[in-house]
């Protein structure tokens, strides 16, 4: 499928389905839905603009939209918060953009069986404003907690900063309704029960529809896990004179076996340098601090108090210096806000320029972190030598407890890119660098992406290599579920699934 086929009669049909107030063809509506925070060559923005935007209000409307798209062979791209970092919600082939933000209702709060049923356009922060009143929360806590939405969390299968205690999106979404690429509505979970967390009936379909980046359908409703609102919260930050010690300490902390341990985050020296740049809210630390490990615990007071003592002991016995209550609590409280501060961008001569934040996130085992870190920084350094628009904003890795099945390390390198000056040559070099970064992750037995997905230019090229035989299965699944390549076409190299078909 190449050209788009959105014509006036199609628009009329869309209006018939979604109502005249929820179909937009104006330029502003379309242009503003062609970007996510990840930098892309701004001069090529126009290539990603959808032809029409709809804001449906029900699953049935979405289903009708998808059926219509099938009839006319028009691409459909789902979009939730538009905060995804792998361009998933950016249309590659124009078409119909289905924005789920108007579907943001809480449909049921079930305090007996501890679930909440929501529409996909709701945000975690807003959801928890309601839930807190009932003494419970939905504990999916990415750094994008104030801006990403449940639909996008499922679309990307994200990581939560407090996942060690509560699990990640994959564990916290119990089941959901999804419109398949041909328009049918189905419900998937562990087995068939909507509120059942663990079942062994049939295939594990829930996982198939987690993290597909909108290539396998559109989630229209989800049942989520509720946990008691934590009575106590404890954050401890430790500083280290060098990376090696900090890394060993991270391992010890994460393996502590403390059940209330929610997260362990390791910041390297590049990252500290970035954070320290003229940040008014940054609590100053001594110059000899090179690395920081941030830990946090959640639970009942009875558990957290003694656990905190043990945590402090492990942190200090493994070479860390406790940074004090003010830094620990203050910095943990601002954990959502420190990611993308464009003015911390620097050219090599020290000049401040507004840079966009780009991150590459791999899933890496603890034992391989030092090697991966070294090679990744080298890749970015080589890039920076050639183009002054790139700046290494450092690395961090976080895990949620190595004693848990999800105890890998989300390993991220953040790169500042002066997007205003990004041209084709720099962009191509950047895409190559991303490919190299992904190759390192695979070489050390890791996975290209821990939470953002790997469907962007560069890393996506290595997905077949990482998945091996699984890639063949993936293509077959796509083809079976989406025979006409309607859903988010062009993503994840999935056009390969249709090679040999009539155009």
């Amino acid at each position: 499928m190449t050209a788009t086929l959105v014509t006036d009669p199609v628009i009329d049909e869309l209006v018939g389905i979604c109502g005249p107030d929820n179909v937009f063809t104006d330029r502003s509506s379309r242009v503003n839905r062609a970007r996510v925070p990840a930098p892309f060559p701004v001069h090529r923005w126009a290539e990603h603009v959808p032809d029409v935007v709809v804001l449906p209000t029900s699953a049935e409307q979405i289903s009708e939209v998808v059926k219509l798209a099938n009839r006319h062979r028009i691409p459909v791209v789902p979009r939730a918060g538009g905060t995804g970092l792998t361009d998933g919600a950016v249309p590659l082939r124009h078409g119909i953009l289905v924005d789920v933000k108007l579907m943001n209702k809480i449909l049921e709060i079930d305090l007996d069986d501890r679930t909440v049923t929501v529409q996909p356009g709701i945000n975690m922060l807003k959801l928890n404003e309601e839930l807190r009143q009932h003494g419970v929360i939905y504990p999916d806590d990415p750094a994008s907690y104030p801006c990403s939405l449940v639909g996008g969390r499922i679309g990307t299968s994200g990581w939560s900063l407090i996942g060690g205690r509560y699990g990640h999106t994959r564990d916290l979404v119990i089941s959901f309704q999804i419109v398949l690429p041909t328009g049918e509505l189905i419900w998937v979970g562990d087995g068939g029960g909507r509120k059942v967390r663990k079942s062994s009936t049939g295939y594990q379909l829930k996982h198939l529809f987690m993290g597909h980046q909108g290539t396998l359908g559109i989630v229209t409703e989800a049942v989520l896990e509720l946990v008691p609102r934590p009575e106590a919260e404890f954050a401890a930050f430790f500083s280290y004179p060098d990376y090696e010690t900090a890394w060993r300490s991270t391992g010890a902390l994460a393996k502590s076996g403390l059940a209330t341990l929610a997260g362990v985050v390791l910041f390297d020296e590049w990252k500290l340098d970035y954070l320290r740049r003229d940040d008014e809210a940054y609590i100053p630390q001594p110059d000899d601090v090179r690395c920081v490990v941030a830990t946090a615990m959640y639970g009942t007071t009875d558990e957290v108090r003694p656990g905190a003592k043990r945590l402090l002991r492990i942190g200090t016995q493994t070479g860390g210096a406790y940074l004090g209550d003010e830094i620990s609590q203050g910095d943990w409280a601002s954990r959502h806000d420190r990611y993308a501060t464009p003015l911390h961008g620097r050219l090599r001569d020290g000049q401040v320029v507004p840079m966009s934040w780009h991150c590459e996130d791999a899933s890496i085992n603890w034992s391989k972190l030092p090697q991966v870190r070294r090679e990744w920084h080298d890749i970015v350094a080589r890039l920076g030598d050639r183009f002054r628009i790139f700046d290494d904003w450092g690395m961090f890795a976080y895990t949620n407890g190595a004693f848990k099945p999800w105890g890998d390390y989300l390993t991220e390198i953040d790169v500042g890119i002066w997007e205003q000056e990004l041209d084709d040559a720099a962009w191509d070099a950047w895409v190559t660098a991303k490919r190299d970064i992904a190759a390192v992750a695979i070489a050390y037995g890791g996975s290209i992406s821990a939470c953002h997905g790997a469907c962007r230019a560069g890393e996506v090229d290595l997905v077949p290599e990482e998945l091996g035989g699984g890639w063949e299965v993936m293509k077959k699944v796509k083809r079976v579920l989406d025979p006409l390549n309607i859903m988010n076409p062009g993503k994840y190299l999935l056009d390969q699934a249709y090679e040999g078909d009539e155009p």
Binding site: R27, S29, G81, S356
Partner: protein, 400 residues
Amino acid sequence: MSSTEREFVEQWRNAAYNCYSSGHKFCREVCPVTQVTRNEVHTPTAFHANVVAMEKGLLSIEDVARDYVHCTQCGACELRCPNTLFTGDFYRFRTRTVQLVKAVRALAVDSGIHQPGWQRWVEETNRQKSEPVLGDVPVSQEHVRDWAAGLDLPVGGETILFCDCEGAFHRTSVPRAAARILQAAGVEFGLMREQWCCGGPAAEMGYAERAREFARHNVEDWRAVGAKRIIVFDPHDYISFTEDYPSYFGDEYDFEIVLFVELLAELIRTGRLALTRPVERVVTYHDACRLNKRKGIHEAPREVLRAIPGLTFKDVDHVTQWSYCSGAGGGLSIERPDLTAEISRRRVEQAGGLGVDTLVSACVWSERPLTEQGGKLDQPLEVMDLLEIVALSAGLEDTP
């Protein structure tokens, strides 16, 4: 691209990029308009991204002018923005969405693009010199002091009480309470000879030249009566006099602008105003956007409420209130009354959840939509101005 548009883009492109390149949209869920419409083109971040898109030739002012109606200029997005939180003053950069919205609206007007409601509104204000307050109230210069009937207030003097249009013509009980409180506390003050609209709303809607005209008139009137100090109870006027006017007149603008709630807190603190009568009400406070979010004033009104005997005050922390608004500001109620009503409805619903009988505000403009929606609740909520409730407690109720 027209030359005005090019100039505009030149001026704003870097500021816009500071948002565009962050792009995290933390501002979105606190924006009162976005919370209702859920439409990405009504988000603070889109307001910045549009400038970048204009620079790239993807959008023009015609494409986006209407989108910028969707802002109450409450300032929540600026506060919530990590750029402001973390690097605020160091680079002399703070995300200034409110200024940007005003600037784009002005660009639209300069480019001949008008929003019908706003255009009518500005024309009416120009004719009457005061805002065309709704209802049967006669709005004109002959009536601008009607609210003060029987209060025996002088004209002129060193201290002037500035009464905004909504108070002067529509919610007269508020300026009356203000005047009686000042009298009771022994504060000498007078009124203007001829008081025009402060010009703030015209500036907010993009009619910059008209706004300056109003401002020039008022400043001349102040000078003519020897005023040095201007007391304002309406937060919108406070913004005009402390932000817009200085930008128009530069150094020659040397008036002291006194915000009534701050003065009030001081009068109570120092015992010049005695609050003796218990007010048996259960209240919560509506943090007016232009006080709390735009000016960081949230303590004084709380201090005043806590000083009222008999009152049960159920407070909501002022940061939580970043995500509420009455929906009345920034001209939204003129172009999108439906949105104002829905934003107000959500606000009173929140207040109702606290089990209060009264919602106290310190912004006259918020009171009309809040009152309307408060009356529709199952357990209706009364909306009172802080000054009205203080007047009650000071034994100054109005018996006309």
